[in-house]
Symmetry: C2
Subunit: 419 residues, 2 copies
């Protein structure tokens, strides 16, 4: 019987213990988790086979089934990801700033864990281990709620983690999972503000919206990238082709993928045929506004008219919207209307226009002459990625380990009163 309140209470207790651990103690537990994932491979793959069977019977798509699937290689890679987390620096205990106030009070701001994290995610069993290890590394307890498609895999994965925790003397309630697929438990988790400090959804727009609407706990909204690249008339057009190619086709299913290309009208006739030619081998399908449509059709591209709704969504595929804009103001205006504040790029040789774009475009990451594909905790040198926030909270864009911490003000004096 799932009792979410009891889970929250136990998580809070565990969080207290975790917050007191040394980096070494946390790393020892992570090491044990990595080892156990490999040693208990058979048990994990058996449970996963059950999820796969159910998914196949339910007629889920090949793509989803592939996301669910664990193999010996994938499990080894998940274990190695845990080992990578061990190698990262622990932000907890880090002194952010400090000084002595006029009153003589010595004031320090020190990083501490957030406490208890709630994570709601979809059909990816690797997220279970990923989130658990990042939370553990930063001294946070976590309550996991994975998609019902991975319930058998998740159940065993969490058992493996919990037994590793116990083997290293840590409370198993540091990592708990709600495996009952009843949706009611998601609602309960979202309202568990008494025990849970932050909700991190990992999934599509619908999941983020659900969390935003129902949570009484701060939610990190993000991960939805309706990303643009604006080709300004001074851009080096040959180099621009490679940036667009990379941003669109390198891994189309990611949130930092280019979805809408904005091309300045003055170069559209010249540039779009080159683009059609360059992307032909990559099977990119264009969705163009009326002006771009004509040019792309004449260039023999695979193109159809774009719908307004298509400009507001992620394709997550090799589809690319193309819109012709008069100038940088119109490009920025378009991004303000259609963007998701994730990653936006300008390609230009003009320092002045680059500066204008960077200043006026409101997004977590803004690029000049680079691919939007760089918006990623690993690429940004954060070592890991918990989520990509598109909220204007104090954590924005790729969130590394530090984003799983807050701080505490510590004030020390010699019996100091306020004047």
């Amino acid at each position: 019987m799932t009792d979410v309140i009891a889970m929250g209470k136990a998580a809070k207790q565990a969080a207290f213990i975790l917050s007191q651990l040394s980096q070494q103690q946390k790393n020892k537990a992570l090491q044990q988790i990595a080892d156990q994932l490999e040693q208990q491979q058979d048990r994990i793959l058996q449970a996963n086979a059950k999820d796969i069977e159910i998914a196949q019977q339910a007629g889920l798509s090949e793509a989803i089934i592939d996301r669910l699937l664990l193999t010996p290689d994938r499990l080894k890679s998940i274990a190695n990801d845990v080992r990578h987390v061990i190698s990262l620096a622990d932000p907890v205990g880090k002194l952010i700033d400090g000084g002595v106030l006029d009153s003589g009070l010595k004031l320090e701001r020190v990083r501490v864990p957030l406490g208890v994290i709630g994570t709601i995610y979809e059909a990816r069993p690797n997220v279970t281990i990923d989130v658990a290890s990042l939370c553990l590394k930063t001294g946070n307890a976590v309550i996991l709620r994975g998609g019902k498609e991975t319930q058998y895999s998740n159940k065993v994965l969490v058992e493996v983690v919990q037994s590793a925790l116990e083997q290293t003397g840590l409370p198993k309630e540091a990592v708990q999972a709600i495996t009952d697929p009843n949706r009611e438990f998601v609602m309960q988790l979202l309202k568990l503000d008494r025990y849970v400090d932050m909700i991190i959804p990992r999934g599509g727009a619908g999941l983020h919206e659900l969390c935003k609407q129902h949570a009484t706990i701060p939610v990190i909204v993000g991960g939805i990238g309706v990303c643009h690249t604006f080709v300004e008339q001074s851009a080096d057009q040959n180099k621009a082709l490679f940036i667009i190619d990379n941003a669109k086709t390198q891994r189309p299913s990611t949130c930092n993928t280019l979805e809408t290309l904005l091309v300045q009208a003055s170069i559209a006739n010249q540039f779009l045929p080159k683009l059609a030619e360059h992307l032909k081998a990559k099977q990119v399908k264009f969705h163009a506004d009326s002006a771009a449509l004509l040019i792309l059709q004449q260039a023999g591209a695979n193109v159809q008219p774009v719908q307004d709704q298509e400009l507001r969504q992620e394709w997550l595929s090799k589809d690319l919207n193309v819109v012709i804009v008069k100038d940088i103001e119109q490009a920025i205006e378009h991004i303000r209307e259609y963007g998701s504040q994730h990653s936006e790029a300008i390609l230009t040789e003009s320092q002045k226009l680059a500066q204008q774009f960077v200043s006026q475009v409101d997004a977590a990451a803004v690029y000049v002459n680079a691919s939007t594909r760089f918006t990623d905790g690993g690429q940004f040198g954060l070592g890991a990625e918990v989520a990509v926030s598109t909220q204007k909270l104090h954590a924005r864009g790729p969130m590394g380990l530090e984003a799983l911490t807050t701080y505490k003000w510590i004030a020390t004096g010699d019996y100091v009163s306020r004047a």
Copy 2:
């Protein structure tokens, strides 16, 4: 007719303009606001007189009426607070960190305004100007919703601000107020996630709870301080008396005021009579657990038994709970159960126990041998205070101007693709 959605849309447009302003331009507008507040004194005081009259007719308490009241002196002081904000450094545009990635991409993290702030507050007209000036300083637009008790004052104050904005060429929608007292508009504001980036409630526990329950926007919860001070047996008892006096009586209505004193059992018989004696002249009324009750009664103190519920609330008056604990573990346990994660203090001569307390007590501010009254943006050297967060978001404790900003990642390259 109040149209909250239209206000949100206009605020977002204004925020775009504000985000592009120089420090000088913003300060010019603030200067104009300060001057206009003084020049339009008569109009403001007339509107305020109307609020006061209604409050008197409604039989509101003297304390509340005093909070509502504006006088020439108070208005001058509000104008001077705006001038103080001018003198503060603008965090917007500040480079947080940066470097060149392996890919050759130059990455910078730069402070930018949050965008649009929604503030819901109670019967204090000074908050209207306070929040408006702090938001303006940091390039944020704001939608204000003050208590119905100040509706006439707020209406005129916002008109004064808006005309000052227009006189300096800024959009008046940068500062808007919902003055219609219908509560429905609060609900609409809390769900305006399309346009509003953050909600900052300023008021009591009920208001914070309302915002937490209904907002689809991140809420800064805080300002509720059930603060403790633990007198450990090694503490210098004579010095401790002055700290407790300061923490309880200096300004009892504030959130950083001491509410519950925890005294180690081994010194209770010796220390509590001294405390009763010391606080007698200050009219402190004690609410004691059964063990402390006896000692305080024998010492002739004004004391009565404490109820469990009283240990969970703010007195906001010269009432002080007294609880005897066996040791530091029991003190920390009590704080975990009853505290509001605001400000907690230990008085001790033991470095080891001080360290244990600081590490194990989970609060925005933790004190060693100092009064909890220091938890304040001004005292902490932040120059201003937007709110005191007791959430474990990325902003915790006193929030200064920086807490009204987020950051943007800016990446510049020479046509760089992701490998």
